[in-house]
């Protein structure tokens, strides 16, 4: 692998969760995947998944009667189940395809990436999970606005939610379209419509219960498939990591020799996959990006929402523990899968594109081709179906959290001042779900040919700079006030979006301005925009001497008692 490709894949990595589109965008084929012949095995497997999940939706629909059922599944989900569902929400198709492709391209650099996606979880566990569960009911705005003036904080939280959901959703929809075109040989627009329609069915009829079970099933399938693939790879090397790595180094060396490198340079290129390469260009970008991943995880609305589906603080803690375990295990597997792909995909002309070079179907196909190499056509179909199911489940979770922000935060709390009846609230969330579904499909089609590589990292940066600081300060800092949270939160939101727009990945790559013209040189704005958010909250809170500020500060004691002990919290979020 030459330097150019390494840089390209590193760039693609920035958009890891943006599914295939990310790597395509940064790779040769700029978001355009080649339509493949129709794969009937994959379609059959996927149809099986859809039929099964539709039965679950039917069962869930019978249980989804009130707004509470819709938002939280009646609070009857266990810690273990919720842990799997959180893992399902988090292990998107991009983590799977993107990270394994990154490991195949540049080895160790892929590992650096996956670590970044994991380290936010302990922080959520230690500082947030149980407090969220004790304070909140349906959305993270319940927690952020607990002792503050409801209207402004709800509007802020709903904006934060919808902006994050929108960017995340576009990335997933475009990724879904590209991936399905590739895996199933369907037209792009059809793929996007199928995803949108199925997601609407799950969310509309089954609410949180159906969404949770779709996540759980998908998480099991994905973990099962990835485990099988990793074991198959390790088995071929007699379960020796050393020989697996040695084979990969040898292959990379041979490829460099074939490229016309002299022996010494080629050997160095081969060994380079075993250590850090070009991913971390400057320390500021590395730290900034690390912060976006670490703290963004604690500000993603669809993840935070999952804490309200469990009956107690204990179950909330157990669910993050299971989630962290599964996600960590999954990232270890993707590392093995990536190295397996070097040995069994890069060496097999069947998987290589004879014209353009690289993998047939684009860089993100590493895991998909590997499934074919180790398990034949049936396993290829299985993994393709799992990848599609993965996108579907993530999109459903996102839509549900967007719909809750509109119906619970805006409609029930801001417009109806908390006096909305459950039936009306449920109706509004269903209408919002339909609107979001249509919007997602439309945006998915509009953005087909756009470079959307920056969107998921933007979603993480916004979550880290707007949602997380407000949540963190309102729960843990006594002197935080409505005004401070509002101003600081919006400053974090605006600065993270603005800095992303003037960063190289948008200003130069997406908007087509000349190279080097970006005002903000770093890969992620989080280091700066998070600081702006926190300082804003602090400054505008300490300067706030209004009557409201006094009320906000006086309310801290009661909030703290409830957040620490759960006294006064609902036993289960079913009411």
């Amino acid at each position: 692998m030459n330097m150019k490709n390494t840089t390209k894949s590193a760039l693609a990595l920035i958009s890891l969760l943006a599914v295939s589109s990310g790597a395509f965008a940064a790779g040769a084929d700029l978001g355009q995947s080649v339509k493949q012949p129709t794969n009937w095995v994959a379609i059959g497997m996927f149809a099986g998944f859809v039929i099964f999940t539709l039965f679950i939706t039917k069962w869930a629909a019978a249980k989804t009667k009130s707004a509470a059922d819709f938002y939280t599944g009646g609070g009857g989900i266990t810690g273990f189940q919720n842990g799997l569902a959180i893992a399902g929400d988090y292990m998107s198709a991009a983590s799977f395809l993107g990270i394994s492709a990154a490991v195949m391209a540049s080895g160790f650099d892929g590992l650096i990436f996956s670590i970044g996606f994991l380290v936010g979880w302990p922080v959520i566990t230690f500082l947030m999970a149980e407090r969220l569960r004790n304070l909140g009911k349906f959305t993270f705005a319940d927690v952020a606005a607990f002792r503050f003036e409801q209207k402004p904080i709800r509007i802020f939280a709903a904006s934060g939610t919808l902006v994050v959901v929108a960017f995340y959703l576009i990335a997933q929809m475009v990724g879904a379209g590209q991936l399905i075109k590739l895996l199933f040989g369907l037209e792009y627009y059809m793929a996007v419509i199928i995803v949108g329609a199925l997601m609407m069915v799950y969310v509309l009829f089954g609410g949180m219960t159906a969404t949770t079970w779709v996540q759980i099933i998908k998480a099991c399938l994905l973990l099962g498939g990835a485990t099988f693939m990793s074991l198959a790879v390790l088995w071929k090397f007699g379960f020796s990591f050393e020989s697996m790595f040695a084979s990969a180094v040898q292959i990379k060396t041979d490829l460099a020799l074939k490229d016309g490198k002299i022996a010494e340079v080629a050997a160095a290129a081969g060994q380079s996959i075993m250590g850090p390469g070009n991913f971390v260009k400057d320390p500021i970008s590395a730290i900034s990006f690390g912060m976006a991943l670490m703290f963004g995880t604690a500000g993603l609305p669809h993840i935070l929402m999952r804490f309200f589906t469990v009956p107690s603080a204990k179950a909330a803690r157990s669910s993050v523990m299971w989630a962290t375990g599964w996600i960590g295990y999954f990232y270890l597997l993707t590392f093995i899968i990536g190295f397996g792909a070097i040995s069994f995909v890069l060496t097999n002309p069947e998987f290589l594109d004879p014209v353009k070079g690289g993998l047939r179907g684009g860089g993100n196909m590493a895991a998909i081709h590997l499934s074919n190499a180790v398990g034949g056509n049936v396993f290829l179909g299985f993994i393709s179906a799992v990848a599609f199911a993965t996108i579907l489940a993530v999109v459903a979770g996102l839509t549900l959290s967007g719909a809750s922000a509109v119906s619970h935060d805006i409609y029930a709390t801001v417009i109806k001042k908390g006096a909305a009846n459950s039936a009306d609230e449920l109706r509004i969330s269903k209408i919002t779900t339909i609107c979001l579904g249509i919007l997602a499909v439309t945006l998915g089609i509009l953005f087909e040919k756009q470079n959307i590589a920056f969107m998921v990292s933007l979603a993480f940066a916004i979550a880290a700079s707007a949602n997380f600081p407000v949540l963190f300060m309102s729960v843990l800092w006594k002197d935080c006030t409505t005004r401070g949270a509002l101003v600081g939160g919006f400053l974090g939101l605006i600065s993270s979006v603005a800095l992303t727009v003037v960063s190289p990945s948008v200003w130069e790559v997406t908007l087509g301005n000349p190279k080097g013209s970006a005002l903000f040189p770093y890969a992620s704005p989080a280091l700066f925009s998070m600081t702006i958010g926190f300082v804003g909250i602090w400054l505008f809170s300490i300067m706030d001497n209004s009557a409201r500020a006094k009320k906000d500060r006086d309310g801290f004691l009661a909030q703290q008692v409830r957040s620490e002990t759960g006294i006064g919290a609902d036993g289960a979020s079913g009411h």
Partner: protein, 102 residues
């Protein structure tokens, strides 16, 4: 929630104990996680040679066990917190609830 209930909780010594223990343990582990992760990132940024050193005769480098180690550390530190919270802190919480609600 009524003010006298809150006062009873706040005046309960076990509540103060819970708050103090959870806060210090939670922050200690948070700092431990930050040091491990940002330490790793700084190592990647400033000392690539160290991570690229080979361990013994084979191709495996120092970076591989360290990287895997960070993942395993993340999982273990989470388990440590949750186990303690689900026993010790929950017992304290139950005792407080019992005492103040009678």
């Amino acid at each position: 929630m009524q003010d006298d209930l809150i006062q009873r909780v706040v005046n309960n010594p076990q509540y103060q104990e819970l708050k103090r223990k959870r806060s210090s343990f939670g922050w200690t582990l948070t700092w431990a996680m930050m040091i491990v992760y940002y330490g790793f990132i700084l190592l990647v940024a400033f000392n690539k040679e160290f991570l690229s050193q080979r361990l013994g005769e084979g191709v495996i480098t120092v970076g591989v066990p360290i990287g895997f180690g960070v993942i395993v550390f993340t999982i273990i530190i989470t388990i440590i917190y949750v186990r303690r919270a689900n026993s010790e802190y929950d017992d304290l919480t139950a005792a407080i609830t019992k005492a103040v609600l009678k």
